[in-house]
């Protein structure tokens, strides 16, 4: 059975002044899939993700998320799409004036889909999500007390509060030691299976790409230069693509 296409981007371009960061990028994401986007720093990976969630506006091209064209969406429609997309920021982006518990409750209390939940049910949901990322012991800690890996896990737990159908991981293993990176990779796979999410994982960590990715895209100078499974890219005819995986 053909998988449902939940995101489709065609001919996306984005410039900052004279600097063209994204040039005619097109790709799709299918339900239940982990799509890894690889590329050196500054190749525009994060810019594409920010265009998907409406934090940036593309110069041209089309972004269809859950069947809706993002550039035509009004604020209310964009917010509806956003509640279906989780975004894990590079440093976790935890609200540093709130405890981990409050960080998780913050989006949940303000989300229309969770309005029917009582305060006790929301608390249970917080505990469940923190347990799933192995951070239940840190529930009342402040973000400043957590390590880099813990912040990312807490950020992921906050993302899971809204039960997203799609998650964007922005460099989930960058700056982490190999053991914590492995734990985060396992967590990405666990989330994919338990929550049935589709994901886009931005990384330049080959191991992360290998472990978590169902399909890979390689971005270079704002363009997709290769697409496929990791073994296909390793034996790609283009030397530069092969070199990336050395």
């Amino acid at each position: 059975m053909a998988k449902e296409r939940i995101l489709h981007i065609s001919n996306l371009t984005k410039s900052f002044g004279d600097n063209r960061v994204i040039e005619g990028v097109s790709f799709s994401l299918f339900s239940g899939e982990n799509l890894v986007m690889l590329g050196k720093s500054g190749t525009g990976k994060s810019v594409i993700m920010k265009c998907i969630v409406g934090l940036m506006e593309a110069d041209s091209g089309e972004i269809n998320v859950f069947g809706k064209n993002v550039s035509n969406c009004r604020e209310r429609e964009m917010n509806e799409i956003r509640t279906r997309i989780g975004y894990l920021f590079q440093e976790g982006a935890l609200y540093d004036s709130m405890s981990i518990r409050e960080n998780l409750l913050f989006p949940a209390r303000r989300n229309s889909r969770l309005k029917k939940f009582t305060e006790n049910e929301l608390e249970d949901l917080v505990e469940k999500n923190l347990e799933n990322v192995g951070l239940i012991d840190a529930i009342d800690k402040m973000p400043g007390e957590l390590s880099g890996g813990m912040k990312k896990r807490a950020g992921l737990a906050r993302t899971l509060m809204l039960s997203p159908e799609m998650i964007i991981y922005d460099e989930p293993t960058t700056g982490l030691d190999p053991f914590t990176s492995d734990a985060i990779n396992d967590l990405i796979l666990k989330i994919q299976h338990e929550y049935k999410t589709s994901s886009i994982i931005i990384t330049h960590d080959i191991k992360c790409a290998e472990v978590t990715g169902d399909r890979l895209l390689l971005l270079h100078d704002g363009k997709i230069v290769a697409e496929g499974m990791i073994n296909e890219l390793r034996s790609h005819p283009d030397v530069e693509v092969r070199d990336y995986f050395k």
Binding site: R82, A93, Y95, P107, R158
Partner: protein, 267 residues
């Protein structure tokens, strides 16, 4: 969009025309931000818990600074003017003179400048660091309105708390003035206050109170604007805090000038 930093703009190697263009662009940005503030103020549910938290942070945490400054202000004003008035045989007018000076001009402006320095820089730095660490983006992508939670609550808190702080500071300044006068005479507290209020008119206190509302509003709004649109990494955090204080302080003086003109026309 970066916040205004007048000093930074003028020290950069831009032509005067380029600087003026940049300042006009920032003024336009601030006008748009003001529109966004009012749009979000009247839309959706008000973040009352965060508003109370901000009132506590902006108001209660400024009490010590305002208290010390207010007592010193009243004391110094009295100690400096007493010999002059005594020489003219008008020492009895001292409480009234202090009352009028503090209520109409010194209190609102000095306490507003202190408030801009303490609270304005705090708001600028806090929102700016939230921008740099992607916390504001995180709110937006979780479909939570950061303008409503972060900006509306802070601007409303400064608008409400500054007039209260000025009122409190004015009272402490009178106390300082009384202590200063008491050191040289045996004036009673009751006599001091009856002399202070002897020529009291509603028209003295009303414009002064109204202008503190505007001072508070613009300090909150400008500081939030500086922090909200900061985009130059950690350097931007310092710059936003600095700009928040500099521009808010300038605007306080500008508003004071406008308030004086309007009061002259009306009263």
């Amino acid at each position: 969009m970066a916040g205004i930093n007048i000093w930074y703009l003028w020290t950069m190697n831009h032509s005067p025309a380029g600087n003026i263009e940049r300042i006009l662009l920032e003024v336009g940005g601030l006008a748009r931000f003001t529109g966004l503030f009012f749009r979000n103020l009247f839309r959706g549910r008000f973040e009352s818990r965060e508003f109370i938290n901000q009132c506590y942070r902006t108001g209660y945490h400024s009490l010590l600074l305002i208290s010390i400054t207010a007592i010193i202000l009243g004391l110094v004003l009295t100690l400096q003017t007493r010999p002059i008035l005594a020489g003219l045989g008008a020492e009895a007018w001292l409480p009234n003179m202090v009352f009028i000076s503090i209520i109409t001009e010194l209190g609102p402006v000095i306490f507003a400048l202190l408030f801009a320095g303490k609270v304005g820089s705090g708001i600028g730095a806090e929102l700016s660091s939230m921008r740099v660490t992607e916390q504001i983006d995180a709110m937006e992508v979780s479909a939570t309105n950061p303008m409503k939670f972060l900006v509306v609550t802070r601007v409303m808190a400064t608008t409400v708390m500054l007039p209260l702080l000025v009122f409190y500071g004015d009272l402490l300044s009178f106390l300082g003035s009384f202590l200063g006068l008491k050191a040289y005479s045996d004036i009673s507290f009751q006599l001091f206050f009856s002399r202070a209020f002897s020529d009291f008119f509603f028209s003295d206190i009303f414009p002064a109170t109204i202008k503190t509302v505007f001072f508070g509003f613009f300090i909150g709004l400008i500081s939030s604007y500086m922090g909200y649109y900061s985009d130059q990494g950690t350097e931007g955090v310092g710059r936003s805090a600095n700009s928040a204080v500099v521009v808010s302080s300038l605007v306080v003086f500008l508003l004071d000038l406008i308030a004086v003109q309007i009061t002259d026309l009306i009263v």
